[in-house]
């Protein structure tokens, strides 16, 4: 297995890249800003990454990715912090942290929950990174044998899986992914150079700018949607978090360890599966802990395992989610889609050859995950009290700040006022869709994956001489499509069952 022969030197090389002073600084800045933005209610890691995307354009590709990755897990931790202390989840994956974290907080044990969360995150991330290192070269070597049919099928699988697990109606989620794919066709056709839906606008020849659409959907429409809630329930921080209050008891640690290890395993396993993401990982881990416990009634009332396991799971899955993104160039979640977009803007397109052709960036990024998590643990945890003070800034101050950051940030990408108008259009549209209970996350995934979907389909048709059976005749492609169908049916069935149950009550 020659692809493991270079592993030690790659790891060393990656560690050196990650430890370069500039990259170390960017990692710290990323984690810190991520936490800062992540604690703001209603602003999750997606919005945090989107907000900082324009800033990273001015950096080297390796540094840019390292910073964005730092923002990613910093924001996730920040989200958990808001969930535990205020019962306000920033993201769906940290919603689980509310279940037992907030009760702990009310019992005055919020500090302990925060520390256990940090430890669980670190352990989960470490296991995830180890598996990422172990499996990425293997999957990349398998990916080298993929043809257009396999790529087409795995993109279909990713889109359907992401839609099936998102909350609410599965059909609406698929429609949103389709809408994203449709918006992705805008611009010049790669094969013929024909203008598609550009309405003669030169600015649209390269398609809609990813930053503009991401900031519109996750910055602007999010903000409009959360103003009313914040006007009605202004947030107040009741608890002071001091270092002393974060010290767990021996009993807490004894209960947490096995939960953390179980959570890490579940998360690592679910992470690389397309579309599943951290939300499914944390909910599954929580459900497992509750089932394994001799006394399930403790859950929801401040059981420490209910905080430890899901947090370990979602961080482990955050790391292993990078496997398909880095090795195949196929992001499984909207957040990964943004990371992929960031790479592509720097002129790098990840795929099976990425890890061998750009070892500096790939391994530097992977190693920086560890450093970033370590920075999170030793630098930022003691400062949790400071981040939490962000929550005492009234939301109505944050609103104009976010709007300005989105406007100037979008403009700065290519000095284009046109992109700001796109933010206006998609911000309004995204808000309307949100209010119609349409999830906008699959839209961004479809937007990023759409061009790939079309190109691979056209290539497959060219190679197979327009034989549609190519997608089911090739075994790997057929199994991807089979899995997609199974996930779709399962998603439809479980939604149908839950509505049937709620009607029966």
């Amino acid at each position: 297995m020659n692809f493991y022969a270079d592993l030690p030197s790659n790891l060393l090389h990656g560690m050196m890249t990650a430890l370069e002073p500039m990259n170390l600084l960017l990692c710290t800045v990323g984690v810190t800003l991520g936490m800062l933005i992540g604690v703001i209610p209603g602003v999750g890691s997606l919005a945090a990454i989107a907000l900082l995307l324009p800033v990273t354009f001015h950096l080297e590709p390796a540094g840019a990715l390292i910073m964005l990755a730092g923002v990613y897990y910093g924001a996730n931790y920040g989200g958990s912090t808001a969930a535990i202390l205020l019962n306000l989840p920033g993201t769906s994956s940290s919603a689980v942290a509310c279940l037992d974290g907030y009760p702990m907080s009310k019992q005055g044990r919020g500090g302990i929950a925060l520390l256990i969360t940090a430890i669980a995150s670190f352990v989960g991330a470490s296991l995830g990174i180890t598996l990422l290192i172990g499996f990425a070269p293997l999957i990349a070597s398998v990916g080298l044998q993929f043809g257009p049919a396999e790529y087409f099928s795995i993109v279909v699988l990713g889109l359907l899986a992401a839609s099936a697990v998102s909350s609410g109606s599965v059909v609406k989620a698929i429609a949103m992914a389709g809408l994203g794919v449709a918006f992705g066709t805008i611009g010049l056709d790669t094969y013929t150079g024909a203008q598609r839906f550009t309405f003669g606008q030169v600015e649209l020849f390269d398609g809609i700018d990813l930053v503009a659409i991401a900031l519109a959907l996750f910055g602007i429409s999010d903000v409009i949607a959360s103003i009313r809630d914040n006007d009605n329930n202004p947030t107040t921080v009741r608890q002071k978090v001091t270092l002393r209050s974060m010290l767990p008891t021996r009993e807490d640690l004894r209960r947490s360890w096995p939960a953390i290890l179980r959570g890490s395993s579940i998360g690592s396993f679910l992470g690389p599966l397309p579309g599943t993401g951290a939300t499914l990982a944390s909910f599954t881990a929580y459900a497992l802990e509750k089932r394994l416990d001799r006394d399930p009634s403790r859950y929801g009332k401040g059981a420490i395992e209910g905080v430890a396991a899901p947090e370990a799971a979602n961080n482990a899955s955050d790391q292993t989610a990078f496997v398909p993104t880095l090795t195949l160039g196929i992001p499984g979640t909207p957040t990964m889609a943004l990371m992929l977009g960031a790479l592509m803007i720097h002129g790098i397109s990840p795929g099976p050859g990425f890890m061998t052709s750009n070892p500096d960036i790939a391994w530097g990024l992977i190693m920086s995950f560890w450093i970033g998590n370590l920075i999170l643990l030793i630098l930022n945890i003691p400062l949790v009290g400071v981040w939490v003070r962000v929550l005492s800034i009234p939301y109505h101050f944050l609103v104009p700040a976010i709007v300005i950051f989105v406007c100037v940030g979008t403009y700065s990408v290519s000095n284009s006022v046109f992109d700001v108008w796109m933010v206006l259009l998609f911000g309004a549209g995204g808000y309307l869709l949100r209010m119609l209970d349409c999830p906008v996350a699959p839209l961004i995934l479809g937007f990023v994956l759409g061009p790939m979907l079309e190109e691979e389909f056209r290539r497959a048709m060219l190679i197979s001489r327009s034989e549609l059976m190519i997608f089911v005749e090739r075994p790997i492609s057929a199994s991807f499509l089979g899995l997609a169908a199974a996930i779709l049916l399962w998603g439809l069935f479980s939604k149908w069952r839950s509505t049937a149950l709620s009607r029966a009550e």
Binding site: V55, H58, S169, V171, K172, A175, G178, L179, V181, A182, T185, D189, Y191, T192, A194, R196, F197, V223, I224, I227, R228, D231, P394, Y395, H396, F397, V399, P400, A401, V403, I404, V406, C407, V408, G409, Y411, S412, N415, V417, V420, W421, V423, L424, G427, A428, Y431, L432, L433, M435, L436, D437, C438, E454, F457, R458, M461, L462, R465, S466, L468
Partner: protein, 152 residues
């Protein structure tokens, strides 16, 4: 006559999807080359996506009939001020420069919240403008005049 119940949210979603999907397919068929399956033209894929959107829209729309749902409740005030802020920025940034555009956009979007007072909006705007100039003009070197008068 009994009123037929309808899930407004799903029905509106359906209309949007059918509208966009229909436009996509119609525009692809009329202005772009479709080609053959072996050598697909630029219009083939968008036309297919359009049909898919129409079908999904129809499924959602049919499911919405005969079922009551929550009313659509849009926060028009917040939408107006936030979107107005973005519009102000887009209109003012090039001719007048970063500072006037930021001040106008910040003041407008601050009004989106019902809890804000004029004084705190002014205070927030001052802080945000200073930050924007610091980060984008001096930090990242975004080429946008700070302030200028376009009419000579």
């Amino acid at each position: 006559m009994t009123k037929i119940e309808i899930d407004h949210k799903d029905f509106a979603t359906s209309l949007i999807l059918i509208g966009i999907g229909g436009f996509l397919t119609y525009s692809s068929l009329t202005t772009l080359r479709i080609g053959t399956l072996n050598a697909m033209g630029p219009g083939a894929f968008p036309a297919g996506m359009g049909i898919l959107l129409v079908v999904l829209g129809a499924i959602i729309g049919l499911g919405a009939i005969g079922r009551s749902g929550e009313d659509i409740s849009l926060d028009l005030r917040s939408s107006f001020f936030i979107l107005g802020g973005i519009t102000a920025f887009a209109l003012l940034a090039r001719p007048f420069g970063l500072i006037p555009a930021t001040v106008a956009a910040s003041l407008l979007s601050a009004m989106a919240s019902r809890r804000i007072t004029l004084l705190s909006a002014l205070f927030a705007t001052a802080v945000i403008t200073a930050l924007a100039v610091g980060i984008f003009t001096y930090g990242l070197g975004v080429p946008l005049a700070l302030i200028q008068w376009p009419f000579q």
